[in-house]
């Protein structure tokens, strides 16, 4: 699904080993690379540098490139965590080929885009508005944050949702870089993710921000992730709420003013801030709430002039959101419940983790959906367990991502009585857990 590589994504800080060894030159090459990227695949390499490393970044990059030169054939996504070179062992946590297709790649023929990053281990900082000291109006993280590490890989969606989002933001930044007149071609830097609860909308926002801050690390020296507590923007004083919103955005403006920073603003459950204004005509909303909506809308218009900001919003109930806001969102991505294939992948990653932690013992190889498909779902002793897992996946359609991720835990808690368990027994337990989960949700519905 990643076959069509966005030119915008490629153009930002690419590196082609055969062209030049000069690290500083890569941004100059933007123009050439845009043409190159049509016939040359870009492979993104993420290099996670240890947080206590003080090595020069250029030096790390050279070492990583020699490593990649030695292993020039890889099979899709791959991650090196152990190195035979002392320098890399000392300074680098992992080198990973990411977001590539599952097929053999010859790195020599590809355009390599190396992204170096270290994780910030600090927790979130709080942003307080002057008046209310107790309740922070927003939390903000410095990206790439240790807290968000690995979320991107853990999220499984169909139809390349993740790639689309990545491409969208990259295009936004590409357009801004090229000084496209925003009066003629307008884009608002607002992404709205909606869908049922538990499908990972908020996680996706965090993961996207993390990913982009790594991808664009050459363009922006760091990323900021601001999570607004929307309820903190409502004042107990009549007519003050609108002002609080303005104040909030002023704070965000301060962060944006640093052109070195890429700022992501997450408004979770956005319907609470931008409740449909026409609903208030029924008299159920105080007029102060309308002011909040107005304030948010005008502030968003203010903020979109800056090239280094992206606003991410999520919602469960789209019909309650004000139309003017929905209209401002460039991408209104529906994040639905996972399909059987998605569920299969989620389970697969869960089981992998359990095998890694030796809760499921002994380790047994499970096939991927792709491999099963090529085998025509034939039953043999290699594919037997995988087919069982596929059946469980089909059975669990209708469960949300959040429910799926906790299912192995429930299975172990309720149906596995021993500390270690064989894969076969565990799959049996999972099936029971799925049944129980389904029964529970049916009971809940009946009770209502």
């Amino acid at each position: 699904m990643n076959a069509i590589v966005n030119p915008a994504l490629n153009s930002i800080g690419n590196y082609k080993p055969s062209v030049t060894q000069n690290m500083e030159a890569d941004r100059m090459e933007e123009g050439d690379l845009k043409q190159n990227s049509i016939d040359v695949n870009t492979v993104h390499v993420e290099v996670h540098i240890k947080s206590n490393s003080t090595a020069k970044r250029s030096e790390v990059k050279t070492h990583v490139l020699t490593l990649l030169n030695r292993h020039c054939m890889v099979l899709g996504v791959y991650r090196w965590t152990e190195f035979d070179e002392d320098f890399l062992t000392k300074h680098v946590q992992s080198v990973a080929i990411v977001d590539a297709e599952r097929k053999p790649i010859d790195l020599k023929s590809c355009c390599l885009s190396v992204h170096l990053f270290t994780l910030n281990e600090d927790g979130p900082c709080t942003l307080t508005l002057e008046e209310d000291q107790e309740l922070p109006a927003a939390n903000h993280w410095l990206l790439p944050a240790a807290e968000f590490h690995g979320i991107w890989e853990s999220l499984v969606y169909d139809n390349g949702v993740k790639t689309q989002l990545l491409d969208y933001v990259s295009t936004t930044i590409y357009f801004s870089d090229k000084n496209v007149n925003s009066n003629l071609i307008s884009w608002n830097r607002v992404v709205l993710l909606h869908g049922p609860p538990g499908t990972g909308k908020t996680s996706l926002c965090k993961a996207l921000a993390q990913k982009l801050s790594i991808r664009l690390s050459k363009r922006y020296s760091y990323g900021q992730f601001v999570e607004i507590n929307s309820h903190s923007l409502f004042s107990k004083w009549f007519s003050e709420s609108g002002k609080l919103v303005t104040k909030m955005f002023q704070k965000i403006q301060q962060l944006i003013d640093d052109k070195e920073a890429l700022v992501f603003v997450l408004i979770d459950e956005v319907e609470s801030l931008t409740a449909a204004r026409n609903a208030s005509q029924a008299g159920t909303e105080p007029s102060d709430a309308i002011r909040v909506v107005n304030s948010v809308l005008t502030q968003l218009d203010q903020i979109k002039r800056h090239s280094n900001v992206v606003i991410l919003t999520t919602s469960n109930v789209t019909e309650k959101i004000d139309l003017a806001f929905v209209d401002r969102a460039d991408i209104k991505q529906y994040i639905g419940l996972p399909s059987a294939e998605g569920i299969f992948n989620i389970y697969l990653s869960c089981l992998e983790e359990l095998m890694k932690c030796q809760i499921i013992c002994p380790r047994q190889q499970l096939l991927t959906m792709f491999e099963l498909e090529t085998m025509g779902f034939r039953k043999c002793n290699v594919s037997e367990l995988s087919l069982v897992l596929r059946n469980i996946s089909i059975k669990s359609i209708g469960l949300s991502g959040r429910a799926l991720r906790k299912l192995p835990f429930l299975a172990h808690a309720l149906f596995v009585k021993s500390p270690t368990v064989s894969l076969e027994a565990f799959l049996g337990a999972m099936e029971l857990a799925v049944d129980k989960q389904m029964e529970e949700s049916a009971n809940l519905l009946n009770a209502v």
Binding site: S51, S53, T54, T118, E121, H140
Partner: protein, 383 residues
């Protein structure tokens, strides 16, 4: 215990000097103090208000105490074996310092030590005002310091001779403690906190009764928070000590509030032009501290009228890339925040008097120096 008391005395006395320059401030601040020191303070304060003469006398007395305590702690630091210093050793310390000064020609003193010349607050007993240094000159310099502090947010302290690396570490530590108190992140000075903490511990041991709810509020201080902050601060100071022994440290940033990228207040201690030398050829830290804090209080750099709420203080240190500091976290991408007006305390040494002691490394470019962040931030508390 005795050492604690003496240490405790040091900053507190320095505060007294500040009180003279900043009379109004004291009124509000003394309200924060809860221990017996209050009485003494207020007494001094009223003294100041009644007439000019006793006030001067009072400060003179206190300055002498500072003199003694500073040198007292120094001798203790340099040779621990001595134990609680007797009066003799204290006096000796002072004499040594003044002896140092007398080795220089008068222009040096005129240039670098305006503090010891004019104001009664810092004159040690044994030195009489030099006839070659008219008080007007010193006053003019003070005025210039105040102007620079107000307009440029910068205070420059020029030491007459090289200092030791250890000394630099102490300067940073003392400045940190001072800023924490002055910017209302600590309810009393560090030394006072340590003192009252110890006293409380002693009481607790005697009483044997366990912790009772409501007790902490009765005492007016949240002891657990106090202890936490003190532990953090002690650890930070220790690690700073270690870092200073590993690498030259040209700059230190103290970031108050917000995040490292966008703090509310920035204080920088700039030591790029400090000339370092071994302990035999350099100034005593105590003498430098006196000069440093005298200048700081004259400049009134730290006591902004703007109130601050409780926040966290992060320490950033510029040190050599390969110094091998394990506790501090390297922040290679960190850039000094430019959108916040930073207040700079520039420390430097008078180069002309420095006879041959190299500050060679100090002169070189700082390109191999990277920012390190202290992994723990000091959380402010007030009760």
């Amino acid at each position: 215990m005795a050492e604690g008391k003496i240490k405790e005395g040091l900053i507190e006395r320095l505060e007294e000097i500040n009180a003279i320059t900043n009379n109004l401030k004291l009124k509000s601040k003394s309200g924060l103090l809860s221990s017996q020191e209050i009485d003494m303070r207020i007494e001094c304060h009223t003294e100041c208000n009644v007439t000019e003469e006793p006030a001067a006398a009072g400060t003179r007395r206190q300055s002498r105490e500072i003199e003694r305590t500073t040198s007292g702690t120094m001798t203790q630091n340099s040779c621990k074996a001595k134990g609680p210093s007797s009066d003799d050793s204290k006096c000796k310390g002072t004499v040594v310092i003044t002896g140092d000064k007398e080795n220089y020609n008068s222009t040096d003193i005129l240039e670098c030590e305006p503090s010891s010349v004019d104001s009664p607050t810092t004159i040690p007993d044994s030195t009489s005002p030099d006839p070659l240094n008219p008080t007007e000159h010193a006053e003019a310099e003070d005025a210039e310091t105040v102007r620079r502090a107000r307009e440029e947010g910068r205070v420059d302290v020029v030491f007459p001779r090289p200092v030791t690396q250890d000394g630099c570490c102490r300067f940073v530590g003392e400045i940190l403690k001072c800023i924490l108190y002055q910017r209302q992140q600590l309810p009393m000075t560090y030394e006072q906190l340590v003192f009252s903490q110890r006293r409380r511990q002693a009481v607790m041991e005697n009483e044997v009764v366990g912790w009772r709810p409501g007790e902490s509020t009765a005492a007016g201080l949240d002891w657990r928070r106090c202890q936490r902050t003190l532990l953090d601060l002690d650890e930070l100071l220790q690690q700073l000590d270690l870092l200073f022994s590993l690498s030259l440290v040209p700059r230190v940033l103290l970031l108050l509030g917000g995040s490292p990228q966008l703090p509310n207040e920035v204080y920088e201690v700039n030591m790029e032009r400090v000339v370092l030398a071994g302990s035999d050829r350099s100034l005593r830290a105590s003498a430098c501290l006196r000069q440093l804090f005298r200048t700081l209080f004259v400049a009134d750099l730290l006591s902004d009228t703007k109130p601050v709420r409780l926040t966290t203080t992060t320490v950033m240190v510029l040190a050599h890339r390969d110094c091998g500091a394990a506790w501090f976290r390297p922040r290679l991408e960190f850039k000094v925040p430019t959108r916040v007006k930073s207040k700079i305390i520039g420390l430097s040494c008078n180069q002309s008097t420095d006879g041959g002691s190299t500050g060679g490394e100090g002169q070189s470019e700082w390109q191999d120096y990277v920012w390190f962040q202290a992994p723990l931030a000091i959380k402010g508390f007030n009760k």
